[in-house]
């Protein structure tokens, strides 16, 4: 891999973490160039949050070398903290404070000068469409508003490396696209590096320069969206459904190789299917399809197999 963007924003070798006998991360290597977007893709329990927490100095790895923004994560955590911004999987706002007060709190903790702190809060409120709600306590915010406030708070210190743990989970399709725009804007306008985790292939496809798939503690595939598609090219993807209606709808819509009505699974050719499945997941091609309105979370999981 060539990185002509200077030294990597994030480099890790052989990162391991186990809880008791349960190996969550079994040797992870990463090399993320400055100014790029990296997406870590994986299902529930894959270890995405664990890896984010390790890289953002929240918890310690059992082994491994990690450098973030040029600083050693283990030896110099405070230097790393000064360079990063983290939006965790679960809301990290002070519910008792208003949106504006939350941002001012962040400004104070970043020791911004008096005049700048107001300006910074005002700008972010406008940018994240929170002006009307600025004076209301964050407990009264909807999930999407909370998420936006969360990200706005992360941006206060102008971090060089930003971690986003499932930034769009639980957002409606419109808020989701807004979030994508914001993330793209950050990279283009401010040159920050973004490490995001997601369960959605289409999100990784939309945003990331490089994607890695985390499965059973290992990065089982890594590359650009195109490279990944080529890697699984010729292979099959098994789609698993939670309800029969969705299963049936998909069976009629996709190029199905085989179908199991008992287990509610479909085996489809991975060639060119990813994009279409991805659309189904967000409901952008079929807003009234049975699996977008039957549940708020996508009821399918995928496993890919070569050959």
């Amino acid at each position: 891999m060539t990185t002509d963007l200077g030294h990597p924003a994030l480099a890790a070798t052989a990162v391991r973490k186990a809880y008791g006998d349960h190996v969550v991360l079994g040797g992870i290597d990463l090399d993320i160039p400055t100014g790029s977007v990296f997406a870590l893709l994986g299902p529930n329990g894959a270890g995405k949050t664990t890896l984010v927490q390790i890289l953002s100095t929240l918890i310690r790895a059992d082994a491994g070398e990690m450098r973030v923004a040029g600083h050693d994560v283990v030896r110099d955590p405070d230097a790393v903290r000064a360079a990063i911004g983290v939006t965790g999987q679960f809301s990290a706002v002070d519910g008792f404070l208003t949106g504006e007060e939350n941002l001012l709190l962040m400004a104070d903790l970043h020791h911004l000068p008096r005049r700048e702190r107001r300006q910074c809060a005002t700008d972010l409120l406008a940018r994240f469409d929170l002006v009307d709600a600025a004076r209301k306590p964050a407990v009264t915010y909807s999930g999407g508003m909370r998420r936006r406030l969360d990200l706005a708070m992360t941006l206060v210190g102008r971090p060089r490396v930003i971690f986003l743990d499932e930034p769009t989970t639980g957002l409606d399709p419109r808020s989701r696209r807004t979030m994508w725009e914001i993330i793209r804007g950050l990279v283009v306008n401010e040159g920050v590096t973004i490490f995001l985790t997601t369960q959605y292939l289409d999100e990784a496809d939309q945003l990331a320069d490089r994607i890695a798939v985390l499965h059973q503690g290992k990065l089982v595939a890594q590359g650009t969206a195109e490279e990944l598609k080529r890697q699984v090219g010729g292979g099959h993807i098994t789609l698993r459904f939670t309800d029969a209606r969705g299963h049936d709808y998909a069976a009629r819509t996709l190029d199905v190789v085989s179908r199991n009505d008992e287990a509610l699974t479909l085996k489809v050719s991975s060639q060119g299917t990813c994009g279409r499945c991805a659309h189904c997941w967000t409901g952008s091609t079929a807003p009234r399809s049975p699996w977008t309105n039957s549940r708020s979370t996508p009821p399918i999981s995928t496993t890919s197999s070569s050959r």
Binding site: T57, G88, S91, A92, V93, E101, D108, H111
Partner: protein, 263 residues
Amino acid sequence: MSTATHAFTDSATMLRRQLRHMLRYPTLTLTAAGVPVVFLLLFVYVLGGILGSGLGGPSGGRDAYVNYVVPGVILMTAATAAQGTAISVAIDMTEGIVARFRTMAIARVSVLTGHVLGSLAQTLLSMAIVTGVALLVGFDPTAGFGEWLGVIAVLVLIIFALTWLSVALAIMAKSVAAASNMLTPLMILPMMGSGFVPTDSMPGELKWFADYQPFTPFIETLRGLLMDTPIGNNAILAIGWCTLITLGGYLWARKLYNREPTQ
């Protein structure tokens, strides 16, 4: 900027955060004052007549009992307020905001110092309310200006001690309900000391406990300052206990907070 300056400004920021919470939800302060006020009224009006006569003073009865019981009730306020602190620390620990603080380059312990300083202000306010009610129901202290300053100084030391202890217990508790329960015994301690009746009237083992537990020197020191009763070595004992509990609570809380978060 040096680490020490950071620790100071960050603690001040966190204190402002706590004060904002307090102003937005004044019920927290009022609740901390509410329980002791109820106890005060209950003991003075329902039991005060009899308990007061048992004190054996010249006037006896209800009037004497008000003056006897107020120091204990004020310390009960410290205990109910400590419970409030524990609850708000536990809420913080279970919410994501603390995880955010941990990934920021801020003085680590400032989150806790903010809580402690905020609680100090809140507890003093609750105590002022309780004392106000006591004055209305006939509390008649002999204390002059100097003694009142002494009272405030002793109370600040006691609040610091109990608050650091409750912060540590709250981090250990891992849930809001558990944190709240853990602090309940603290409210009973003034009663199992010289707060409501003299320890001489208690049976053997209880008297022994009452004489040696920290609340008794706390109460006797306050009573001495407010009502001009003999203090003896109680002031030294009170200061000793406060130093010990503050130091222990602070170190324990800091250790627990710096430990890896597990969820």
